[in-house]
Symmetry: C2
Subunit: 226 residues, 2 copies
C-alpha cells in the first residue's frame, strides 16, 4: 500500500527544486528578466550552477514557472469574485482587472520581458507550446466567466467568445506594457471602454441583419488565433 | 545668386552618406537586423568606423533610414493604384496589400526586428518620436485612401478612421511576423476578412441605434493611440 511512495521523487530533490523556483520568482519580481541569471539563482540558493541546471536547464524554464505562478494567482483572485455576480460584463471585468492586478508588480520590467518573449521563435512566447499550460488557465477563466453568466448567448457566439477574450487579454497586456500612466490607469480605462462597447453590442447579436458582421468578426478572431 | 550653394553640404559628404545608407539598407535586407553592424558597413564602404559614426551615430539611425525607405516605396507602390478606384474598401485593400508586399523580403528576419523594436523604450519602436516621419507616411496614405473615396462617411468617422487604420496596419504587421504560411498568405486572408467586415459594417454607420457602439469603438481606438 506504500508502493506509490516508493516511486515518488525523493523529498530532498523536490525541496531543492521548490527552493530554486521561489528564489527565481522573487528575482524576476525584484530584478526583472535581464538581470535574473541561473548563476545568480545558484549563488543565492548556495548550490552549484550544475545542480541548478539539473532542475531548470535554462532561464526559460524558470520563466514558465513564473507564467504558471502569475496565472494561478490570477485564477485564485478571480474565482471568489466571480461567485458574486452572474452578469456577463461584470464577470469579464473581474477576469480582466484581476489579470492587470497580477501583472502590476512586473510593470517596471515589462519592456524587457516583452522584448525577450515577443519573437515567435522565443520559447517564452506566450503562444508557444511551452507556455500553453499558463495560457490555458486564462482561457479556462474566460470560459468560466462566460458559461456562468445569466445572459445566454447564441451557441455560435458563446463557443467562440473565450478565444476572442484571450486574444483581447493578450492585446491588453501589450497595451499595458506601453502604459506610462500612474498605476497603469489607462489600461483599466481601456477595459472599461471595451466592456462598455461589449455591453452596447451584446443585444445586437439577436438582431438578424447584424449576425453576419458579428460572425465575420469572430471568423477574423479565429483566423488570428489559428 | 549662388549663395544658397555656398551653404549646401559638400557633395562628397552627401555622397558618402548616401553610400553608407545604401550599404546598410542592402545589409538589413540580406542579413537582417542582428547581423548588421556599423563595423560591417564601414568595412564594406572602405571607410573607418569613425567616419561611419559621423554620418550615422548608431545602428538605430540606419534602421530609421530603412523605415523611411520602406514607407516611401509603400507610397510609391500604392498611389498609382489608388488612381484606379474610388471605392473605399478597394482603396484600403490597396494600402494594406502594398504594405505587405513591401515587408515581404524582410520576413525571414522579422522576429529579430520585432524583438529589437517592440520595447516602448526602443529608439526604433515604430511609435517612437524618431519613427514618426515613417509612420506619418502610412497615416497620410490611409488619409488619402479615405478622402479620395466616393463613399462619404459622417465627419466624426471620416476624421478618426485614418488613426484606426494605422493601428490596424501595426497589428497586421505584428500578425505577419507570426505568419508562417507560404508567402504569408494568411496575412492577406486576414486583410480580406477585415475588409469584408468593414464592407458589411460601413452602411451601419447610418443606422441611428448603431452610432453609439461605433462611436465607442472609435473612442477605444483613440484611447489606444493616445
Amino acid at each position: 500500500m506504500f508502493s506509490s511512495e516508493t516511486h515518488a521523487p525523493p523529498p530532498k530533490r523536490e525541496r531543492t527544486r521548490a527552493q530554486l523556483r521561489e528564489i527565481a520568482l522573487r528575482s524576476f519580481r525584484e530584478r526583472g528578466y535581464d538581470a535574473t541569471t541561473i548563476r545568480l539563482i545558484a549563488d543565492e540558493a548556495g548550490l552549484s550552477v550544475g545542480t541548478t541546471h539539473y532542475h531548470f536547464p535554462s532561464k526559460h524554464h524558470l520563466v514558465q514557472e513564473l507564467y504558471l505562478d502569475v496565472q494561478e494567482s490570477h485564477r485564485a483572485a478571480a474565482l471568489p469574485l466571480l461567485a458574486d455576480t452572474d452578469d456577463l460584463v461584470e464577470r469579464l471585468r473581474i477576469v480582466f482587472l484581476t489579470g492587470l492586478d497580477g501583472l502590476g508588480p512586473f510593470h517596471p520590467f515589462a519592456p524587457e520581458f516583452l522584448s525577450a518573449a515577443v519573437s515567435p521563435r522565443s520559447p517564452i512566447n506566450p503562444l508557444s507550446a511551452d507556455s500553453a499550460p499558463a495560457l490555458g488557465i486564462v482561457r479556462e477563466l474566460f470560459a468560466t466567466a462566460v458559461t456562468g453568466s445569466s445572459q445566454q448567448l447564441p451557441d455560435e457566439f458563446a463557443e467562440r467568445l473565450p478565444d476572442a477574450l484571450v486574444l483581447a487579454h493578450l492585446l491588453l497586456a501589450l497595451f499595458w506594457v506601453y502604459d506610462r500612466s500612474p498605476g497603469q490607469e489607462r489600461s483599466r480605462r481601456l477595459v472599461d471602454r471595451g466592456l462598455r462597447l461589449l455591453k452596447t453590442a451584446l443585444p445586437l447579436v439577436r438582431v438578424p441583419f447584424l449576425r453576419a458582421p458579428l460572425r465575420e468578426l469572430l471568423d477574423l478572431v479565429g483566423e488570428v488565433r489559428a
